[in-house]
Symmetry: C2
Subunit: 177 residues, 2 copies
Amino acid sequence: MNKLSFGLLSLISTKPQSGYDLLLKFKRFWHTTHSTIYPLLSQLLEAEYISCDVMEQSGKPDKKIYTITEKGFDKLVDWMYKPAGPAVIKDEMMLKLSCIQVLDQKTANWLLDEMETRYQKQLSEYSETLARMKSSGTSEKDLRESEDFGMYILLSKVVSDAKSGIEWCNWVRDLLS
Amino acid sequence: MNKLSFGLLSLISTKPQSGYDLLLKFKRFWHTTHSTIYPLLSQLLEAEYISCDVMEQSGKPDKKIYTITEKGFDKLVDWMYKPAGPAVIKDEMMLKLSCIQVLDQKTANWLLDEMETRYQKQLSEYSETLARMKSSGTSEKDLRESEDFGMYILLSKVVSDAKSGIEWCNWVRDLLS
DNA sequence: TATTTCATGTAAGCCGTTACATGATTCT
DNA sequence: AGAATCATGTAACGGCTTACATGAAATA
């Protein structure tokens, strides 16, 4: 049981869903790939923390819908009260910017542009999803009780991080000019 | 040559320094440990991207001061223009909060408190260092040309991230109450 | 026609974490 | 007295990344 295993339990507890569904959601706030997720789901299934229903589909591989079990839910609650490890952050862009004073102006600005573009992509990608969530649940109170509330607050964080990232890029650019 | 190898080159290019110095600086914005850094420095030395001067000390192990070579600097510049990979972010707290709607109010609030405390620690730890930097270089113009400028902007980012993290925790708490 | 999306899986190899190892000094 | 700081290193194990593997439908 590594961190992501618990994360899978966490998301499955909000709603039965497939590995593919989980992947798409995780990608927004946890760096991972399908090759990590599928084996972990098998392990969770074997440990009986989740159960599996196969949904047959035409033209596509069968969809495996996972649901959390009571045993799994107990495991999830145990984990909640264990102190969380520190956030692991590894951003190559930061490494590059750590020697910004030895670079010429052109290179420095190019790096800042690259970084801003990255934030901008995140912003356009996720603020749409966020807007859709806001409009589907009429009020914020509805959202609060919906199965998507966790996703809603996490996406909000990602979007606000992107926004402040862009502001930071501009602040640095101002300092340099 | 992995990402951190280039990061080491990057920081060394701003100022000759030891593995231990590098570790302390990296820790602020890149998750790593000394067991990763020391072997990489050996490799960089063998590849002649850096050179090493031993500073003898009494009572402590000798300090190895690394300096970037011309060859290393060329390598560094090459890397700058290669597109940076996506930021790798793995925050266990986010995994926990992804199922916040299935938790009772007490647990949810406890998680938010834990998260805020973590941000608060970062804030108090790094805003001090940042303040020291600001006061040592009299004006921001001095800082811009100092060997610490890269560190200055990265620390600023870390501090502003912590601040917006705290705001986010409060925003979620308000939604829940 | 080529790429992306949907949908799952396996496997090799690299990388990083954790633990072991040492040891003097300074702070609590 | 015990923990933290300074200062470097090695090694095993586990986990993650990358690539391989398949394949239909939809989009560009």
